[in-house]
């Protein structure tokens, strides 16, 4: 859990850059994404540096980047985790369930279901294309190296490049400079030219990536 003022809590898909003054030799700041709101701060999605123990002081920069912006009246939310964690998608889950929407998670990760709402339906990733007719909105979390695979994962043909529902993608990439340096480490090629996850993202409309 990261203890911080409410204004510092990043929205779903946005991030903070955090470093500890108690560990000045850590080479880089750590991007922190919201997993769950808690009193006094938020629970961060992994990875969190193992050197950080309860009581570790942190300096925070942000919130940074562009986050998820689902339509207001989503009744059927599809979440797809293609990387190492599903936890960056959980803020969307909690909000959707709070307004009475149905939520389905698609992933090949082994999910620890303890602590997850029983109303959440968990499916393998292969079931995602068939479920897109059901969903009002799709939120994906994908590592940078899998962005090129999205059409295949979503079952899009070269002729059909549009989904039946709006979709946004959180591009998970190393972001060493956090948008200040233009270092290029998180660059991704889009039909509209090269973009950076740290500044132009991390969340992009799906159509901006295909």
């Amino acid at each position: 859990m990261i203890e911080c003022p409410p204004a510092a809590v990043p929205g779903a898909g946005r991030y903070l850059l955090a470093w500890s003054p108690d560990d000045p030799d850590a080479p880089l700041a750590q991007p922190l994404f919201l997993s769950e709101l808690v009193d006094g701060g938020f629970a961060a999605a992994p990875p969190v540096p193992p050197a950080w123990e309860p009581g570790t002081r942190l300096q925070l920069r942000g919130p940074l980047g562009h986050g998820f912006n689902p339509p207001c009246a989503v009744r059927r939310l599809a979440l797809a985790a293609l990387g190492a964690t599903h936890r960056r998608l959980l803020p969307l889950l909690h909000h959707a369930l709070a307004v009475g929407a149905s939520v389905a998670l698609f992933t090949d990760l082994l999910i620890e279901t303890a602590g997850l709402p029983s109303a959440l339906e968990i499916n393998p990733l292969a079931a995602l294309p068939d479920s897109l007719l059901w969903a009002d909105f799709l939120a994906l979390d994908a590592p940078l190296e899998r962005i090129a695979d999205l059409p295949k994962i979503l079952g899009l043909s070269p002729e059909t490049r549009r989904l039946p529902c709006p979709a946004q993608v959180l591009v998970a990439a190393p972001m060493p400079c956090g948008g200040v340096g233009g270092c290029g480490a998180c660059s991704l090629e889009t039909p509209h030219g090269w973009k950076t996850a740290c500044d132009d993202g991390p969340v992009f409309p799906l159509e901006a990536l295909l």
Partner: protein, 312 residues
């Protein structure tokens, strides 16, 4: 008339850390005596493919390809901000051969807001080629020669020896900086992988010749002599990490670099040309150690991405 380069306070960012234009709202800039742009090449460069940032104990490796929109677009977008900045702006140029270097530096001579140039030599450059570049830099802008860390001593010796000789009577290479390498849109994209993994043979045909050289050094300012070369700086060291499919080569950053950088500074000081040191500086005592060892100024790199030097 040669221009002085004043870096006060004696800190500046390393190229590649703060973008192409200084952010007027960035409090970090208040502590820097000059601003160095991201690397700029003649033609636009795309990001490198594959993993670009790999962490390891003590540091991380970057293999980005030095993406940039090319000198023409950088100038279009950045000159107004450079002119407004209250501290000197140094443009870092990526060059592969002498004609390119000369042409790009000449282009910058006419740009208001540019206080100097940092010329990034390719990692595999031969001493004779480095000499061929520096002997043709005779404009007003102070030029900082960024040496590859590996082989810095040999390169520095060759450069300083050449600068001590009379300037060669060399043919004017003109300024075809935006010449026939452009496509019809005016730019030619270069794949960013080309430079990071480059084994290219630079253009041949250099011959060291005589020149005159003198430096008048104050605490933080250098007045260039007949040549434009005002100081040396040091590029990050290079290394490799294993990834699926082979090795990934790139630039190394992090606290583990500091001893290498300090040793390189000590090795370069006897040559008599001012040295802007840097590499792995994460504490004020490290910066002060470099200044005490005779560095003209200290470049800060990845520490700027985590708030700058801590108050200690």
């Amino acid at each position: 008339m040669k221009r002085d380069l004043l870096i006060d306070p004696p800190y500046l960012n390393a190229s590649g850390t703060l973008g192409f234009t200084p952010d007027p709202h960035d409090p970090l800039l208040e502590d820097l005596g000059a601003f160095v742009t991201n690397p700029v090449s003649r033609a636009p460069r795309t990001p490198a493919h594959g993993p670009r940032c790999l962490a390891y104990p003590g540091g991380f490796l970057l293999h980005t390809g030095h993406p940039n929109p090319g000198l023409r677009k950088v100038l279009q977008r950045s000159v107004p901000a450079w002119r407004r900045h209250s501290k000197p702006v140094l443009v870092h140029l990526l060059v592969e051969h002498a004609a390119q270097a000369v042409g790009m530096v000449r282009r910058l001579e006419a740009i208001p807001g540019v206080a100097g140039v940092e010329l990034g030599l390719p990692p595999d450059i031969r001493p004779a080629e480095a000499v061929g570049i520096v002997q043709r830099l005779t404009g007003e802008l102070p030029v900082i020669i960024q040496l590859p860390l590996e082989g810095a001593g040999e390169l520095a010796r060759a450069v300083v020896d050449a600068l001590a000789r009379p300037r060669p009577d060399s043919p004017d290479w003109g300024d075809p900086i935006f010449g026939d390498l452009e496509d019809e849109d005016g730019d030619m994209f270069v794949d960013g992988d080309d430079l990071e993994d480059s084994d290219d043979e630079p253009a041949a045909g250099f011959s060291p010749a005589a020149g005159n050289y003198s430096v008048a050094a104050g605490n933080y300012s250098v007045a260039a002599g007949n040549y434009s070369v005002a100081a040396f700086s040091l590029a990050p060291p290079r290394g490799a990490l294993a990834v699926s499919g082979g090795l990934r080569h790139g630039r190394l950053y992090g606290p583990a670099v500091f001893p290498l950088a300090l040793a390189a500074l000590h090795a370069l000081r006897p040559f008599g040309l001012p040295v802007i040191a840097g590499g792995g500086v994460y504490h004020r005592w490290q910066a002060e150690a470099m200044l005490s060892a005779g560095a003209l100024a200290v470049q800060l790199d990845a520490v700027l991405w985590r708030g700058g030097l801590p108050l200690e």
